[in-house]
Amino acid sequence: MTTAASIADAETGAAEAADEAAGETQDTRVPVTVLTGFLGSGKTTLLNRILTEQHGLRIAVIENEFGEVGVDDALVLDSEEEIFEMNNGCICCTVRGDLIRILGALMRRREKFDRIVIETTGLADPAPVAQTFFMDDEISSQLRLDAIVTLVDAAHVLDHLNEVKPEGVENEAVEQIAFADKIVLNKTDLVSEDRLTEVTARIRAINTPVEVIRAQQAKVELEKILDVHAFDLDRVLEGDPAFLTETEHQHDTTVTSVGIDLPGDLDEGRLNRWLGQLLRTKGVDIFRSKGILAIAGSEQQYVFQGVHMLLEGENGRAWRDGETRRNRLVFIGRNLDRDALNADFAACLAANSPVGDRA
């Protein structure tokens, strides 16, 4: 499979100052959007729009293969898809070698673009793409995985989700939905409202917090999928603060979401031990995780996001005066034990310290 990168011919002078949040550090890393979706879901249509429309954004697009649309002044790079498995004792992950090379080449031309979009193949596992942004400190110092956007064909997605795979073979449609921060539910004109409701419920059964954006002919406002900080749980909760405790869509499904929302401060030592053990032993089945935590003794929120065993965290904004210190996190994965996750996390609260821990 060939990967190619091109930079959309776009007007310069795109609005850059919109993210200047008062008093908070601006993240100047280049936002990266990963586009996934089955064949026929509308990915190519959306990519062609990104490449050809006068949207005023300077976007570098990394495609699976050279696009059909010619782009003036495009920077084009290509390489073969390579998936490397990295086993480092405690951590096992896969990365995309071709992406590392192509991103390195793009960053040497940093002045030519403001955003990057990566298209994956219809059958691609999103994990190696996502983990590529977690497994190298140079990449993560320059690039920020902004969102995984999955296009879904409203007319056919249920067939893909219901497809029974041989043992040990992943259902890619399920994985692509599980990994997504945003779902573009495309071709809504081809199905009934009842069907759309059914499809949306099925999507949320797998990935409860995901935002579902309806579209026809892949016409979705680019500002809804590019530079949206969808990996940032805080932004997600602003849109739907109740999702963590939603249970109405909890169907019987192997891949699902578990949200936790608990007030109180966490004992950092016990949290480290629990989360470390959880990801070491269950990381293969935990596709995505993200959270905002209150660590005892810290004036700042602790924000983390992870893909399988790889976790990246840092201090976020300060807790505000009068704000309830609380912990919100979500896991999306296979065969998640909801009760165990809730109980084990609650045991990390400082107020629940065993007597021996308080010395």
Partner: protein
Amino acid sequence: MPRPAPPRQAAQLTALKNHTRHLLTLTDEDIVLIRQLDCTEPGCPPVETVVAVLPPSGGTRRWTLHHPVDQITPDLLAAALAEPPTTSEGDEK
């Protein structure tokens, strides 16, 4: 739980990668990854930095330095890379 990410020192990381390329006489096709990891496994150091080389032909070489990435000097790197790597033949799928 990782600690707060180290300062975003892209220039230092680029320099470490370039030094790795020089020391190992790598080609442009070889990929160098550097990642600081936190580990809570009993018996493991709490912080380590992994340097990995991924050649286009498959199979990886890895070295682990028991230092945070921002404390790795060229001398420390050279000493680590002089040791035999952990290899993973056929890592590339």
